[in-house]
Symmetry: C2
Subunit: 462 residues, 2 copies
């Protein structure tokens, strides 16, 4: 049996899967500042209408346009690997598989939605796309996609990552993208935050405010904003990961999957792998589905399900999601892509429905897992991805204790070649854990206690 399971281009799915069609209870709509649901028209200055239609769609299957498939074929289908060397090192009876999304030109799963969004924007006549980026994976991916389609690209990169990973900017520049550190002096939102907190490490919430502001301020109307995670259409575009994986597992002769694992910051790589399996779970399959987050930013495991803004300046609608509060600035961990105060509404909702079992893991355990993975499977993974590997190792050890031959599948969301500074610090013994305390969570949530709460979490943690 080969350790790498591949597909042909003909076997790549032709449709994305939309979990919204199958949730046991309907999702709550995004709300405007007045507490009323936002209409598609209200989002029109931010996103092109073809993407807004996807965002609100309740269709289970949505066709992937031929033009997008042709772009995806540049690196897809991605391989599924059996982690035999890792299994041997752990002495586990579990069968561990990983879907390798690091093979894309930008090095992560992000191009799956970047090329789709850029393509839809171009179809709609847009000339320039603005966005934010945390670790730099998304900004790189969108710069890449815009290069392929001849669009202008402007990226606001969270300051702490901009400083830790200077070559991410070079990468975006190589693809013709324009990258600035956020908060910047280029927007009203950025200037306001810099005036208050000149030394802020920045956050995804701040960077989103700046990117949205630039998009809606273009007097020609030819600029739109793109988000690399969180929203429904982004989750949708990523489901190609899980749909391919299902076909590959079938080829490998796997009849039953026990555990699905992905790291979760905004939620998109996790959703991409997990949603097609969540469909099976809704239809009766016995699968444990685990989003893994950093202990320093425990959105799903410790924050309430509530209505909150996606950004600091409250330019986005109120979204129904797990949130640590839109003012929350996560610790400057190296897994920059997981430093987000909120979580995708679709993932948040599925967790509330009991379809998923979130887990939070500390930084040191994740780096230890990443090194073991490098020295067994040979791939140097992104710090974000290390959370998925750490959870996989926990579950594989559990299977060993139980003596069960479980099938565990995780998403290898990106490689770590642009993130070696964190590895260097870890190997030099200079990193520590940053577990967030309940007091810190309460303090962050207190700051937004007067904001409209049209929906209160069932389990009533807040």
């Amino acid at each position: 049996m080969p350790t790498k399971i591949t597909l042909t281009e003909d076997e790549v799915p032709r449709q994305w899967y939309n979990l919204a069609a199958d949730l046991p209870s309907p999702m709550n709509p995004p709300l405007g500042p007045d507490g009323n649901p936002v209409t598609p028209e209200m989002l029109a200055p931010v996103f092109p209408m073809n993407i807004i239609e996807q965002e609100v769609s309740q269709e289970r299957w949505i066709d992937i346009p031929r033009g997008i498939l042709d772009l995806l074929y540049r690196w897809r289908p991605s391989p599924l690997h059996r982690a035999k060397s890792l299994e041997a090192a752990l002495g586990t009876p579990a069968k561990i598989y990983y879907k390798n999304e690091s093979v894309s030109p930008a090095g992560s799963h992000k191009p799956n939605t970047a090329v789709a969004q850029a393509w839809y924007n171009k179809e709609f006549g847009i000339k320039k796309i603005t966005t934010e980026t945390g670790a730099g994976q998304w900004g790189s991916a969108l710069s890449y996609a815009c290069a392929l389609l001849g669009l202008e690209c402007k990226v606001y990169m969270v300051r702490i990552s901009f400083d830790q990973k200077p070559f991410r900017k070079t990468m975006m520049n190589a693809w013709g993208g324009n990258c600035v550190a956020s908060p910047s002096m280029e927007t009203h939102a950025g200037r306001e935050i810099l005036a208050k907190f000149p030394n802020t490490p920045g956050s995804l919430g701040i960077a989103i405010s700046e990117a949205v502001e630039e998009a809606v301020s273009d007097p020609t109307g030819q600029t739109r904003y793109a988000l690399g995670s969180v929203l429904n259409h982004v989750m949708l575009h990523q489901t190609i990961i899980g749909l391919e994986t299902k076909k590959q597992l079938k080829k490998a002769g796997i009849k039953k999957v026990d555990t699905i694992i992905g790291c979760a910051g905004g939620g998109s790589n996790f959703a991409g792998l997990a949603f097609p399996f969540t469909y099976d779970k809704i239809n009766g399959a016995d699968i444990e589905i685990i989003p893994v987050e950093p202990a320093s930013c425990p959105t799903l495991t410790k924050a309430p399900f509530m209505y909150d803004h996606g950004d600091v300046a409250k330019m986005t609608p109120l979204l129904p999601m797990h949130s640590l509060g839109h003012n929350f600035i996560p610790a400057p961990i190296h897994a920059g892509g997981l430093r987000y105060h909120g979580m995708a509404p679709l993932v948040s909702h599925a967790v509330e429905e009991g379809l998923m079992s979130p887990m939070a893991i500390n930084q040191l355990e994740c780096y230890e897992a990443a090194l073991l993975f490098a020295r067994t499977e040979g791939l140097i993974i992104a710090p974000e991805t290390s959370h998925a590997v750490a959870a996989t190792i926990r579950k594989a050890k559990e299977a060993k204790e139980e003596g069960k031959e479980k099938v565990i599948v995780f998403n290898l969301s990106g490689h770590g070649l642009m993130d070696l500074y964190g590895y260097e610090k870890y190997m030099a013994g200079e990193l520590r854990n940053n577990e967030l305390t309940q007091e810190e969570i309460n303090a962050s949530l207190d700051q937004i206690k007067d904001q409209p709460k049209a929906f209160v979490k069932k389990s009533g943690r807040w």
Copy 2:
């Protein structure tokens, strides 16, 4: 017609191709310091005997052991892409294909021979492998291979690259390898050079001396040295590139290839793509085969074919090759992997036979080509690879002028994600060309004019 042509694992070649079997005239043997041919036994302290047997083999086809195939399958077969976006940007009637060797876990073609060499060393009972690395591609690849096979790995990295690319060291460390800057204080050769030239940027020639010295000095006899290029067995292991490419071109319906292009430092990625096509040329096919080197280190285009040492300390045998002289220290260009005073004897010999048409290109043209490639094909390539792209663009423009629908195939030997410093400098306008002058070449060659010259180049340039 798809722009990406893939193979199944079953279609991966089961044998390597050995050009030595088909050269019109026999190769000259390596010589010892006394001017007599070295015997396999004399090489035994440096390499394991199973590799030495390959080094001197005259067999045309050599079986790839199953254990090596299983390692290669971790990323092979690699895709062949049609560069349609680049063609469109150039407005050329040429069909451009590139073999994408950047998909390996170490990011280049180097693991093709690294896993083979590590496997043969392990078979022979070796516990530790020493080596040198220029840009870091080879040191990373060997660290990766040693991690997979549980061997110790020690890498001497050329100082200038060590400083320009600090994360290459982290990468090797992540795989468990030990990387030091060369010249180092750890060897006699290193200390001697540092005493004379404390600020030297180092060179591959110096680093080889150090790595060989450490291997042969191990009193337990369980350490051997591995070379990432130049030698016959390295060229052999890389021919899987060209053999796969032939099958892929056939799948794409290509009946005749006009031009084969690869960048050449020590010669291995070039040889890997080119040798299977050189076989066709020897058998009558009309193919132009172009090794491309930097104008700052023009071994094939300007240096004599002679006997010279592979390293500065003269620890290696005298090899029949094009050489700028083993004391030559190339300019600190960013294409560190092309900074070598010599060239593979097999490539050198084939050039002398008229089978190949070398070309030298300046740094700025190469970076310009790399940016065009990133913005059309979407891949950020290594500075070494940019030489192949620059040559490809020259040939594609030539085809446009001639109005001919030529088929050009080049080897995309590695990605540039670890080499963004050079891109940054180029985009900031801080790089310049470093074309080597004839006076500089003569000065370097004069330094070795008393060394044994058992063989004099036919065309008598020296």
